[in-house]
């Protein structure tokens, strides 16, 4: 099984928590190649949408179909990776964290060492190989998370606000790595609420607001003149009231 798992077709995706609709009837398609950025204020449902697409959460309704819909689940897992807002660092060295990911994907032991070195050098972590991952700085930890995701060569990489807690310099390093991963042929799906980052990375924007997908457009079009009033408000830097419905 070596065929592409893209495009990703999402239809009527809904997630309920009691009576609350956390995600409401999302329908969209993500094609290979383009860097898709999911933009929206806090609480819009960006992270949930990413987790649903990645298969970490089961939707209340709707469908998520990869490729032609006949791809075995095990293959889907093999073709995806995710980087979380707060990177999960195993209690081992930097190199061992990468090696563990490779082992999980069934890479043979003798092949692992060279791939670990490759991942470390691509993310500038060579000198920190033996350092326990949990004492790395926040920026280094996120670079390690990227190295770990990159080295398993996913076809799709989900990134959940990867620079949310980083300073500008560390954010730039992370963005450079994201661009490199994209250039190497991996589909990027990233959530952010940082307009600057969205402009720097996005080929297309999915704008989420209160659990609904209110706009899905090419990045240039979106930033030049969004059609949805909520997106317009967001771009103009005004506060979007999150709790209008609950007031």
């Amino acid at each position: 099984m070596t065929g592409s798992i893209l495009p990703l077709r999402v239809d009527g995706l809904t997630l309920l928590a009691g009576n609350r609709r956390l995600l409401d009837n999302l329908t969209f398609e993500l094609a290979a190649g383009k860097r898709s950025v999911i933009l929206g204020p806090n609480g819009a449902g960006k992270s949930l949408m990413l987790r649903l697409c990645h298969g970490l959460i089961t939707p209340s309704a709707g469908s998520i179909v990869w490729g032609g819909g006949d791809i075995p689940a095990a293959h889907l897992v093999q073709c995806q990776a995710m980087v979380f807002q707060k990177p999960v660092m195993l209690r081992r060295s930097t190199a061992a964290n990468i090696s563990h990911a490779l082992a999980c994907r069934g890479v043979k032991r003798r092949e692992r060492a060279s791939r670990v070195d490759e991942a470390l050098s691509r993310t500038g972590l060579e000198t920190l190989a033996r350092v326990p991952a949990r004492v790395l700085s926040a920026g280094e930890q996120q670079r390690l998370a990227l190295a770990r995701a990159w080295i398993i060569r996913p076809e799709v990489l989900f990134l959940d606000e990867p620079t949310a807690s980083l300073d500008p310099a560390a954010s730039r390093d992370v963005e450079d790595i994201i661009h490199a991963i994209h250039d190497a042929g991996t589909k990027i799906v990233l959530t952010t609420q940082d307009l600057g980052q969205a402009r720097r990375i996005a080929d297309e924007i999915l704008f989420l607001h209160r659990g609904r997908l209110v706009e899905h457009a090419p990045a240039e079009e979106f930033f030049n003149g969004p059609t949805a009033p909520e997106a317009h408000t967001f771009l103009s830097g005004e506060l979007i009231a999150l709790d209008q419905n609950h007031a």
């Binding site: 990645h54 990776a81 999960v88 195993l90 209690r91 999980c104 326990p132 004492v135 398993i152």
Partner: protein
């Protein structure tokens, strides 16, 4: 009071002189308890982590039962193992009653729930943090258990130590299934109980000193090992 001081001085001379009888008893005690701890760790550590990563009907009951078994009275364990190993029992054909093997079995039964329960608690804490990452990697159950056990090694060492403490200090189970037979199944705790009853306080005290010293050494080793396996602590 003079009796006590006299007993203490004889005890210290027994220990310092590496008295043959004393050393034989200490040796058997360590053999039994360390083997039981190794067996209980082999069963209990993966069992605890498996309970963390597996969801099945009755899981809650299993956890409650395991926690309750942590406080198993040694004499009850001794009695149950006695019944199993006695001639009329289901395992009677092996002729294990009143042998060191019977004592190892009893102590393994006694401390496996302690190690398993502590292992589950440590694994639970790690799993909360690791779950999404491991699921994202598509990790199957066996590797998830191995990951939890390796990454929780510092805490698990303490769990194993707690098991060893319980095994080396208990007297009820080994007394019942071992029978406290001289040169065969006589260990430190059964000897202390017997010699105290006979009024031979010197040997009882000597063994008591050794028991406490062993506990100190094992704890010291664990502390040192813990620091070595947690380099991030040392680096901070």
């Amino acid at each position: 009071m003079t009796d006590l001081w006299q007993a203490l001085s004889v005890a210290l001379s027994l220990v310092a002189g590496l008295d043959r009888e004393l050393m034989e008893i200490v040796g058997l005690s360590l053999r039994v308890s360390l083997t039981a701890v190794a067996a209980a760790a082999l069963i209990g550590l993966p069992l605890g982590a498996a309970l963390t990563v597996t969801r099945f009907p009755g899981r809650g009951f299993c956890i409650v039962a395991l926690n309750s078994l942590m406080g198993l009275p040694p004499v009850v364990v001794g009695l149950i193992v006695y019944l199993m190993l006695s001639r009329a029992g289901p395992l009677g054909v092996f002729g294990l009653l009143f042998t060191p093997t019977a004592m190892i079995i009893a102590q393994t039964v006694l401390i496996t729930p302690i190690i398993a329960s502590l292992s589950r608690q440590i694994s639970d804490d790690l799993w909360t943090e690791y779950r999404e990452q491991l699921r994202s990697l598509g990790v199957e159950r066996r590797r998830a258990i191995a990951t939890l056990l390796w990454d929780g090694r510092a805490g698990l060492l303490t769990a194993v130590l707690a098991g060893f403490g319980r095994a080396s200090a208990e007297v009820g189970a080994v007394m019942i299934v071992g029978g406290n037979i001289d040169h065969v199944t006589r260990v430190m705790t059964t000897t202390i109980a017997m010699e105290t009853g006979k009024g031979n306080l010197a040997l009882a005290l000597g063994l008591g000193i050794v028991l406490i010293a062993i506990s100190l050494i094992i704890n010291g080793l664990t502390f040192g090992l813990g620091a070595a396996t947690r380099p991030e602590r040392a680096a901070l």
